[in-house]
Symmetry: C2
Subunit: 208 residues, 2 copies
């Protein structure tokens, strides 16, 4: 049981034949495939081709398909969903919503990455094998939603939201809009339409 990280412990000299690919790059390529096709839709053949490695290399480095997906999901949350964290630090509830919606727009409707949200795609029923992953993604999302609820409760305590507004309802409503945007993005709706949807949603925001 050695704990040799991908980015090497400097001093440790690897003993055998050196790896001919960069695991981080390969994982990023895998992420793109999962993001585009979903867990079940991405075959090991497609994954290995996109990653530029063979199946035995993949299995030796990442375990199996499910483990690979989980690592890709970690990368996704760390690299692509970072706007969620910073959005929650905005000073007002409205700014939180604004930043969340625009962050989603940038991340899920850009032209350098696949359209839509990997999380939403992964919670849709598909194969049987994906069930454990579905449950995992749903759990991760739930914790993220709890954070938003807490943020909006704080906002109401700070007098930042009208008293008649239910913070939990508002938080869940906002994630609903975000998930709806993701569905539309995945379906190929163009970015201009999505921008107008975000504008409309913000125009409707309580206490604008």
């Amino acid at each position: 049981m050695q704990a040799a990280s991908a980015t090497a412990c400097a001093g440790s000299a690897p003993r055998g034949r050196p790896r001919e690919f960069d695991p981080d790059e390969a994982l990023a390529s895998a992420l793109r495939v999962f993001w585009q096709k979903g867990y079940d839709g991405a075959s090991m053949a497609e994954l290995t081709e996109a990653m530029g490695i063979t199946k035995p290399s993949l299995y030796a480095c990442f375990g199996n398909k499910e483990a690979l997906f989980r690592k890709a999901l970690d990368l996704y949350e760390r690299d692509k969903l970072c706007y969620v964290r910073s959005a929650l630090e905005e000073p007002t509830a409205r700014l939180v919503a604004e930043r969340m919606l625009n962050g989603a727009l940038a991340t899920h409707c850009g032209d350098s990455d696949p359209q839509g949200c990997l999380g939403v795609i992964s919670t849709m029923p598909c194969g049987i094998e994906a069930e454990t992953i579905r449950a995992d993604v749903i759990a991760r999302r739930r914790s993220s939603e709890q954070a938003m609820i807490a943020r909006f409760k704080q906002a109401r305590d700070e007098g930042d939201l009208p008293d008649h507004v239910d913070p939990e309802g508002l938080a869940n409503y906002l994630t609903t809009v975000l998930q709806g945007l993701s569905v539309k993005a995945t379906s190929g709706t163009d970015r201009e339409s999505l921008k107008r949807i975000v504008q409309t949603a913000l125009a409707c925001w309580p206490c604008a």
Copy 2:
């Protein structure tokens, strides 16, 4: 090329061995499976078992998996999405939204049918085989969205919406919320939470 419908042309006497199952019932069972598992997630084995027939019977009666799905989708739109039509006939834009949201709640979060919207589930990427179906479902949805845009334009012309509101943006925003609700329902969010989301969305509706 005879056009013998499922519900028989009365006069025509069927010549061979009579069918031992009801195609309408079988189709309804198939719909439930597709609704629960998605197109790719539903295997022919699961379908035939739920429908109570064998594979040759299925292929003889419905063609193939894709044709079966399309017939199930027709049934779904006719039986389960009928609230969309009637919602558009409501006298005000707000009542349209109210009826759409409550209709979605009843249809996608009931306890007699699977959770979520078959249309949304079917537009998520999964297998390669589902691509043509995805495109088809997206096209169907687009025409439905056009109808709502037209309805909201009419509402603005009738002075039923504030002048500063963009009818197309509002229609697309509403479908976004509806699709988001479907994602949440599919993920197992309980109906009470969804009701509160609908309430929040309606509280935000322009010119309440």
